[in-house]
Symmetry: C2
Subunit: 285 residues, 2 copies
């Protein structure tokens, strides 16, 4: 598990770094970024993984969301992977779209040709990258949380819900709450997983929640979700009411905050970033 340092920068008395490695799961070079807070000088710190949205990279969160100040205060390590495998050998959207393929891995393990060989972002994040971080950085692997935005909110919810022993806190900004019920999800899951919708359910946050027993749901960490009410994707792609209904059905604790005037972008995300970091820090203490 070796990786190469691309650049490191002092930031809020911690270190903001960009790295790459040859990943086994995705069979390509993968980039990722890590913010190491100053508290890591004194021992392992909790790890919070952020999954970005369509068209983003490992850099977007770290440059646009402004998470370092509060992460440095709370002693949280931040990890941001890229949003898909990339490279000339990695098949892209056959139609040249921005909502599938490069920059749009949907944080799943594809089963359909020609995508199955490279598009294994779920295993990459939960296993391979997790091992790289555990071995290469002053991380406490027993205190991890996960969050994300839009497609990455979908990724954080599904990965977090399926791996409760790894991720002890979950939150999302404007997540895709049910890929089964939106055009982005229908396109991506059909191409990555095939036409049998039954196989899509394990990558659908609302369905995963509905599959929890009430006892299991009761023991899960509470979800925090922020949603802008001027988000142009709210009614067509995101459907937070499906998540709300599912949580209500099984008794999973959800704080869903609706913010008048806010849109889908990083000015929305940065506004509420501090609340999310404090949500995770409280669970990971």
């Amino acid at each position: 598990m070796t990786f190469e340092t691309l650049s490191e920068h002092a930031s809020f008395n911690g270190t903001m770094g960009f790295y790459r490695h040859d990943a086994t799961e995705t069979q390509c070079s993968m980039r990722f970024s890590v913010f190491v807070p100053p508290q890591a000088k004194d021992g392992p710190v909790p790890v919070l993984t952020y999954l970005a949205g369509l068209t983003c990279t490992e850099e977007t969160f770290m440059t646009k969301a402004g998470p370092q100040r509060v992460a440095a205060e709370l002693g949280l390590m931040l990890v941001a992977p890229d949003t898909s495998p990339r490279g000339e050998n990695v098949p892209d959207d056959p139609d040249g779209g921005w909502d599938f393929g490069h920059g749009a891995g949907f944080y799943l393990d594809a089963t359909e040709a020609p995508y199955a060989a490279h598009y294994r972002m779920c295993s990459y994040i939960t296993q391979e990258l997790n091992t790289v971080i555990r071995d290469g950085f002053p991380a406490d692997p027993n205190r991890q949380g996960i969050f994300g935005h839009s497609m990455g909110g979908h990724g954080a919810l599904t990965i977090g819900l399926k791996n409760p022993d790894t991720y002890r806190s979950i939150s999302a900004f404007a997540p895709i709450c049910s890929p089964l019920h939106c055009p982005w999800g229908d396109k991506a899951l059909r191409l990555y997983l095939g036409p049998q919708q039954e196989t899509w359910r394990e990558y659908d946050a609302a369905e995963l929640i509905l599959s929890l027993s009430k006892d299991d749901a009761h023991g899960r960490p509470p979800l925090l979700i922020d949603q802008g009410m001027s988000d142009s994707f709210l009614k067509t792609q995101l459907h937070p009411h499906l998540l709300e209904n599912a949580c209500s059905e099984v008794g999973l604790s959800l704080t869903l905050r609706s913010h008048a005037g806010y849109d889908h972008g990083y000015y929305f995300i940065s506004t509420f970033m501090e609340d999310h970091l404090r949500h995770h820090a409280a669970a990971l203490k």
Copy 2:
């Protein structure tokens, strides 16, 4: 003085906007960004103009420096112009470099052909853009400050020092302190202003400070400058010691902070942004 709204986004209970207008001074379409804090609902607020560095645009500061949170707390309007005139008709670096021409206006009024017609960033900022902001936004023109980074630090220092009635507070991140004594300055001022170095002095912060009488210097607002000690441009281009010497010579109050480990980029700037905003807010109350 009309302008077009390109986009507006809610941010920290204020509004982050991007705009364009056909500028008279620079004879081209100019973009600028404005953050209006929530306090502007109750009346005009102080205005803080940020000048960015080489290769940057009106967007860089607002996306990468994370100033909105504290500006919203302090009730400061933030204004960021582009770093040069642009467009097919605007002459660029004859050698294709990134340190002159488009993205590198050096915040001066050029006198040499073929640059003099468009490269009038000094007059554009102090007069034309200032009027647009005064007339189009809830700004208090009697409470203005100016700051910037690198080439924009040079711009903020020179423009601020020459216009004390307009700008009542000044600060900079890793500024070019004396264009007369660095390769970037030598190239740009030679092409924009011609070979007579005497004409360069009004665009050299160290020289401008040395030209102040002790009485004048004593009445000026104190300067705040942050400098990273791992900044790769520190010894070749920036020369803060020349500014320090000049301030000492005439008795101008300067707080020059040197930060071990920090480089020239926006992770450095964002780390110390809050201190600069509080420096300006204190002067503009």
